[in-house]
């Protein structure tokens, strides 16, 4: 087999400038860098979407096995290189697993026998054999990501590019995806390029780490020489928040008793009895599909529920959501779903004006929030045009602006770089100092050194509540975190 050579130079002043890279067959490369450093653009260039599909000024050349991508069509490139996106939902375009994997070969107009051959090979390579007749709507996030992988493999290519493939997944699902990648890399000698904010996830797999900043390569390391600490949030900054003493703590500001939640007449959560105190940071953890998000939503009465639920001792089980919102803020997983207004400034005022709290807000306070979150320059621009990370910061401050007593953050760290992570930490620190409660739902391992108490869900039941050391046995037995070495 011949070596694959990538030769790449590009001078797009804003996003990518003068990148030169050479990649050999069978390498496992991780590309990392801050939000906006051009990682995703680089992936689009490598996979040929730039310049074939996406507009812009593009100069330079990408060469695969001696052929420049511009001289090929996308259909031809796709038989060599495949790109997996961050959100698996958007790359599944058919109604069931079989058709999804068949989609590519069908387009290539291959003979039927060849298609069937490829499907069965790809399904077994990704361990999806049992799922073959499943509808794509019934798959879990991890399964969807593996289906996306299989459907690209069916194109018969030998280079895979993955853009944050595991950020939506819990530790077990992530491990499955990683195992699949490792198998492809080692046994089929595929070239794998992963883009991620957390390179340490791929510690055991990668051969090379490339660091991008402002569109240029600032670091290129081989496996042995990599130091992961610059890409991690330091344990000390997490612990610093943990050791803050609770400020005039009130007990049981939120309380549920034998609380059950239903979705379309199916019981999702049963008999949750929980007490939450003010001035602390809580972490809700559990496998994908264990009911964490459902629980958070139901605290604001978004689902049918049974049992007792109270905030500040007042029964809220029958209160409309928009009235509970004043005391209990909720930040959703996907920031796109909760941006409503036409300008960033109006967006910040959205909730306060709905809740009639805007009279207390001064321009200075808003200005300060914008400056703290580095969004000042976008004050009058439409929020839909912001980057993913900027949108996340905006959704956080647009709820933090009216300081609800309880703030629930649902997977706030997905797709976020270290800078945004630390921004959220600052908000959490400020809230703790002011005696306000925060609840974080996340798979990130950093939670272990950050939160005061863990709340653990498993298959719709509350299976543990307590400080991280108390619940450690449960975490270990349920494989929730790979934390052994950090304690």
């Amino acid at each position: 087999m011949k070596d694959i050579n990538f030769q790449y130079s590009d001078s797009q002043p804003k996003i990518i400038s003068n990148v030169n890279l050479k990649i050999n067959k069978g390498e496992f490369i991780v590309i990392t860098g801050r939000s906006g450093s051009g990682k995703s653009t680089l992936a689009l260039i490598l996979s040929g979407f730039i310049p074939h599909l996406i507009g812009g000024t593009y100069t330079g050349e990408v060469i695969y096995q001696g052929i420049e991508t511009r001289s090929l069509t996308l259909g031809e490139i796709s038989q060599l290189v495949g790109l997996v996106h961050q959100d698996p939902e958007n790359q599944i375009v058919t109604s069931n697993v079989l058709e999804e994997v068949a989609f590519g070969p069908e387009n290539l107009n291959l003979p039927k026998e060849e298609i069937l051959e490829r499907i069965s090979l790809c399904l077994s390579a990704t361990n999806l054999d049992e799922l073959i007749s499943r509808g794509t709507n019934e798959l879990s996030g991890g399964e969807k990501q593996r289906v996306a992988l299989a459907s690209l493999l069916a194109m018969g290519g030998s280079v895979l590019i993955l853009d944050e493939p595991t950020s939506y997944l819990d530790i077990v699902n992530r491990a499955q995806v990683l195992k699949t990648l490792q198998k492809l890399n080692l046994s089929q000698n595929m070239t794998i390029i992963v883009i991620d904010h957390q390179p340490e996830i791929y510690k055991d797999l990668l051969t090379r780490l490339i660091v991008l900043e402002k569109g240029s390569i600032i670091g290129d390391y081989y496996a042995e020489e990599i130091d992961y600490t610059p890409y991690q949030v330091s344990v000390n900054s997490l612990k610093k928040i943990r050791i803050l003493p609770p400020n005039n703590s009130i007990d049981n500001i939120l309380q549920t008793d034998e609380y059950s939640v239903f979705l379309k007449n199916t019981k999702i959560l049963s008999d949750i009895s929980l007490k939450i105190n003010s001035g602390l940071i809580y972490g809700i953890i559990g496998r994908n599909g264990s009911g964490k998000t459902t629980f958070a939503n139901s605290l604001l009465n978004l689902h049918t529920n049974k049992g007792k639920m109270s905030i500040f001792g007042k029964n809220t089980a029958k209160k409309p959501t928009h009235e509970i919102a004043k005391d209990c803020g909720l930040i959703f997983q996907n920031p796109n779903h909760q941006i409503f207004e036409q300008t960033v400034k109006k967006e910040i005022l959205f909730a306060p004006s709905n809740l009639n709290l805007d009279s207390e807000l001064t321009d200075e306070k808003i200005h300060q929030l914008l400056v703290d979150s580095s969004l000042e320059q976008y004050k009058n621009s439409p929020p839909f045009g912001l980057s993913f990370g900027e949108k996340r910061r905006l959704t956080v401050i647009s709820i933090d602006v009216y300081s609800p007593s309880i703030l629930i953050l649902d997977e706030p760290f997905i797709g976020q770089d270290r800078y945004n992570f630390e921004f959220i930490l600052k908000i959490l620190q400020k809230r703790k100092e002011n005696g306000l409660t925060s609840v974080i739902i996340s798979h990130r391992k950093e939670l272990f050194n950050l939160v005061d108490r863990f709340i653990i869900f498993d298959q719709g039941h509350l299976i543990g509540e307590g400080n991280p050391r108390e619940v450690l046995p449960i975490i270990k037995s349920k494989h929730l975190y790979p934390i052994m070495e950090e304690i």
Binding site: S78, E99, E106, S120, S124, D129, I132, H322, F384
Partner: protein
């Protein structure tokens, strides 16, 4: 390794065979259109309502398929009432049947109901329910994706037929997304049952903006995903799951249409 490959090959074959026995969806679709046209042509109320009630009773015992929300009986009844009112008010010929509001002392009687008006009211409501119920039969018995696929039988270009199955694939996803957005509005204090016109407009605006922006994001990803797998590279694509037009299906369709025409004449 090869053992696993064999197992999945068998599974694929089973899966492909399972769907090849049913009637071709396009033929079925033409058949229900024929029945709907029949409903619009007959004036025999007995025949009309016999079929409607048969279907209604059947679906009263059988749940409708997953993708269909429970029938909006409220809307159906309001719309039917509207038809009835208009027909009763407009037709003034034929025998007087009764008065809607009888004579009370010296007042009234009001709203005379004429035979012809009553006939038309029942006829037009029958047409409406006829079309609705026959549509249920089709939706219940057809996998929408098979329907999209079999459109290529009618020489619909595969790129266009494919966009129908793409639309259907994302229907539940987008539906779910609208729910999430409406939840998000409420968690930021927006009242979901506003008591002013402006509030209603805001509710619309604040739902449209986020759903459009997130759909635009989705479109980019989906396009890349399809182009990245060579969609539209060649003139044809190999359909793995074939849905050929079977002679038997076409004969069935002819028999049905013949039957309907006979029913129309006698």
């Amino acid at each position: 390794m090869s053992g696993a490959v064999k197992i999945s090959r068998e599974l694929i074959d089973v899966k492909l065979e399972a769907s090849s026995n049913a009637t071709n969806p396009v033929i079925k679709f033409i058949a229900i259109i024929a029945i709907a046209v029949y409903y619009f042509m007959i004036t025999d109320l007995y025949r009309m309502y016999l079929l409607i009630f048969a279907i209604l009773i059947y679906y009263n015992f059988k749940a409708l398929p997953y993708q269909v929300a429970k029938p909006k009986y409220r809307f159906l009844i309001i719309f039917s009432l509207l038809i009835v009112i208009v027909q009763l008010a407009a037709s003034r010929q034929g025998d007087l049947v009764f008065f809607l509001i009888p004579k009370i002392f010296n007042l009234g009687p009001f709203f005379p109901i004429y035979q012809k008006g009553l006939f038309y009211a029942i006829l037009f409501v029958g047409r409406f329910w006829g079309v609705i119920t026959i549509s249920w039969v089709f939706i219940d018995s057809t996998n929408p994706f098979d329907f999209a696929q079999s459109l290529t039988n009618l020489k619909v270009p595969y790129r266009l037929a494919y966009s129908l199955s793409l639309a259907l694939r994302f229907t539940p996803v987008l539906n779910n997304e609208i729910t999430v957005i409406r939840n998000a509005q409420q968690t930021r204090g927006l009242n979901s049952t506003p008591n002013s016109i402006k509030g209603t407009y805001n509710l619309l605006k604040f739902t449209l903006f986020p759903i459009i922006s997130s759909t635009l994001n989705r479109i980019k990803d989906i396009t890349l995903s399809m182009e990245g797998r060579a969609f539209g590279l060649y003139v044809d694509r190999t359909p793995l799951k074939e849905m050929p037009l079977q002679i038997l299906d076409i004969i069935q369709l002819f028999v049905l249409i013949l039957l309907l025409m006979l029913l129309l004449m006698f």
